[in-house]
């Protein structure tokens, strides 16, 4: 298997009036072609910024990006904006978090769907229309021909997200970033959209990067999982291995905060106390230490490096779970 996307020491900084905000701090990630990887972390952990930076969608004048990004054998980080643009749509595409804002409110679904077909693939009006009906059928929208005439405001959230998916896959991308594709949707629709994405991925032979804050979403839909915290990958493993054998207390805490059907009625959902460290002023030690139930003195002073365990399992922790080291539980 060859890697389709490779991030090497990716760093993203924003210049703010409070100083440099380091949103992504040296991420190394390799995504193998044909697989699906989940990026998990809480809000503000840098997962969205990382995926947008990987694609080169952060263009503000206050953004600096460092590191090497290789996509499909081409070094994206060395390419000009025009060259990178050629990879968009046909090479890689993105599904956005909020389908309410990711569609232009004043243009019909048809014209938004056909835009990339006509501009990027050079289709004629007629071809584009036929293809767009095909795409809408693919994302399981009933009466696709009628849908083309509608405006986004006439559709429900789930329908809009299907349209977004149809747009994203319209030029047959090799790599699909799905940035919290189900966060803005209600639970029943979430399941449908995830199932659709998984099916499409296999049908169209796409690689998928699924960004989410929900470990439950990752469980059935990905081959690998990378857990992000405070702009770093803190644990990475094949999905089954990760769930069977968590090393990082943060992953465990995330896992415990998934609501469970066996919970006693009226009992409180476990939450992770505290907040992410201030991104303009990172502490010297492990970023999770102040919130960690197992933190030792060393965790506050020394920054842990990614350690390699067996079966491609990586973790960033001085005192990983499942080790026999004695630790005082605070």
């Amino acid at each position: 298997m060859s890697s389709i996307l490779k991030l090497e020491n990716l760093k993203v900084r924003f210049a703010t009036h409070r100083g440099q905000l380091e949103a992504v701090r040296g991420v190394d990630l390799e995504v193998e072609a044909g697989t699906s990887i989940g990026i998990v972390g809480e809000s503000g952990s840098g997962k969205t910024v990382m995926s947008r930076a990987a694609m080169g969608l952060l263009t503000g004048s206050n953004v600096t990006r460092e590191g090497r990004i290789t996509f499909d054998g081409k070094v994206l980080s060395d390419m000009s904006r025009d060259e990178v643009r050629n990879e968009f749509g046909t090479g890689m595409a993105m599904i956005f978090q909020d389908p309410m804002t990711a569609l232009n409110p004043v243009r019909r679904i048809g014209s938004q769907l056909q835009e990339s077909l006509r501009v990027r693939l050079g289709m004629s009006r007629k071809e584009a229309k036929a293809r767009s009906i095909e795409l809408l059928t693919l994302v399981r929208i009933p009466e696709p021909a009628r849908m083309l005439r509608k405006f986004p405001s006439q559709l429900s959230g789930g329908m809009r997200q299907r349209i977004m998916i149809a747009i994203a896959i319209s030029c047959n991308p090799k790599l699909l970033f799905a940035d919290e594709p189900t966060t803005a949707l209600d639970v029943t629709v979430q399941a449908q959209i995830l199932e659709l994405l998984t099916d499409l991925r296999q049908e169209l032979n796409m690689t998928m990067v699924l960004v989410t804050h929900d470990l439950g979403v990752v469980a059935g839909n990905t081959d690998y999982v990378a857990v992000m915290y405070a702009g770093e990958i803190v644990e990475q493993a094949p999905t089954t291995e990760l769930f069977a054998n968590m090393k990082m207390p943060y992953t465990e805490a995330l896992f415990k905060s998934i609501p469970n059907i066996n919970m006693k009625a009226g009992s409180r959902l476990p939450v992770i106390e505290g907040r992410l460290p201030d991104p303009t002023d990172r502490p010297p030690g492990c970023g999770f230490a102040p919130r960690c139930n197992y933190a030792q003195d060393k965790c506050f002073t020394d920054h842990p490096e990614l350690e390699v365990a067996k079966d491609g399992h990586l973790y960033r922790c001085w005192f990983p779970l499942g080790d026999s080291i004695q630790r005082k539980v605070s």
């Binding site: 263009t59 595409a93 909020d98 569609l103 232009n104 994203a168 030029c171």
Partner: protein, 287 residues
């Protein structure tokens, strides 16, 4: 069309009818069986309203007010439409462009708009006309056509920052929306994004302000005439006001006829602009 009409309230309906009437006169004024607006009637100078042969009376020189007011609509509306059209186009292009590229360009453009906006419309127009419309030899009056051109140019300069700032503001509120990033993520070029994604969203805000701007320009044209730098020789509402500005006690209708027509027209344009803006607000809420 019928559906559109039913959404209007009464003042807006009256305004639309008034504006349509004015436009009807703009188009047909030349061909209506009216007295020649440039010929004076020595037998009836300064006669009042509803005089035989002069429905709205005449001014002190005997010019027929009805035919002047109807024929004057042509130049007044032409000046307003041309200067708002050109000023709007230039202003919107600058505003949208600078808001899209951001950074230093935007900073400079915004500063430029703010400086122009800090000067009162009339003072700016007056200054431009005064500088540009002077003939080398004071004894030879400046060519009236050139004067119209200069007034249009000056009013265009007045309009550019007004519409420019609206376009800039509207663009800023759209340019960071997710659908712009989404379009970019599909490989759309900047030009495509501006014309297909930003302009259609910014246009409604511009439409609303264009009507308000037309009102501003009509007033400015009249005011410039009152100050003696507008159109004096031709046939326009401003010219009618300008000609009698010195003395209208003998024939007051010569002042209030053009002023009332001008005021009604401005109010009508403002009403339509306000209506469009309120429609826009509620639409924004529905999205």
């Amino acid at each position: 069309m019928r559906k559109l009409w039913s959404t209007l309230n009464l003042p807006s309906k009256i305004s639309v009818l008034w504006v349509l009437l004015v436009f009807f006169f703009v188009v047909t004024g030349n061909f209506l069986p009216l007295l020649d607006p440039t010929e004076y009637d020595p037998d009836a100078s300064g006669v009042g309203l509803f005089s035989p042969g002069h429905f709205l009376g005449t001014d002190i020189n005997g010019y027929d007010l009805l035919s002047n007011v109807i024929n004057g609509a042509r130049i007044s509306i032409l000046i307003a439409l041309v200067s708002v059209g050109i000023g709007g186009l230039i202003g919107s292009a600058i505003g949208i462009g600078s808001a899209y590229v951001r950074g230093k360009v935007d900073l400079v453009v915004n500063l430029f708009f703010n400086i122009l906006l800090s000067i009162p419309n009339l003072v700016l127009g007056l200054a431009l006309v005064a500088i540009l419309a002077t003939s080398v030899d004071p004894s030879i009056p400046i060519d009236p056509n050139r004067r119209v051109f200069i007034i249009i140019f000056s009013l265009t300069v007045v309009i550019i920052p007004i519409l420019g700032r609206i376009a800039r503001g509207a663009t800023l509120s759209w340019v960071n929306r997710e659908f712009i990033v989404a379009a970019r993520s599909m490989g759309m070029k900047d030009r495509h994004i501006i014309f297909k994604h930003i302009v259609p969203n910014v246009l409604p805000a511009i439409y609303a302000v264009i009507f308000l701007a037309i009102g501003v320009v009509i007033v400015a044209e009249g005011a410039l005439s009152l100050l003696g730098v507008g159109i004096i020789d031709g046939v326009s509402w401003g010219a009618m006001i300008g000609r009698v500005a010195g003395d209208f006690t003998y024939a007051p209708q010569s002042m209030y006829v053009p002023v009332i027509v001008l005021a009604l027209t401005v109010i009508a344009f403002n009403q339509i602009g306000d209506h469009l803006r309120s429609q826009l607000d509620s639409r924004e809420g529905k999205i």
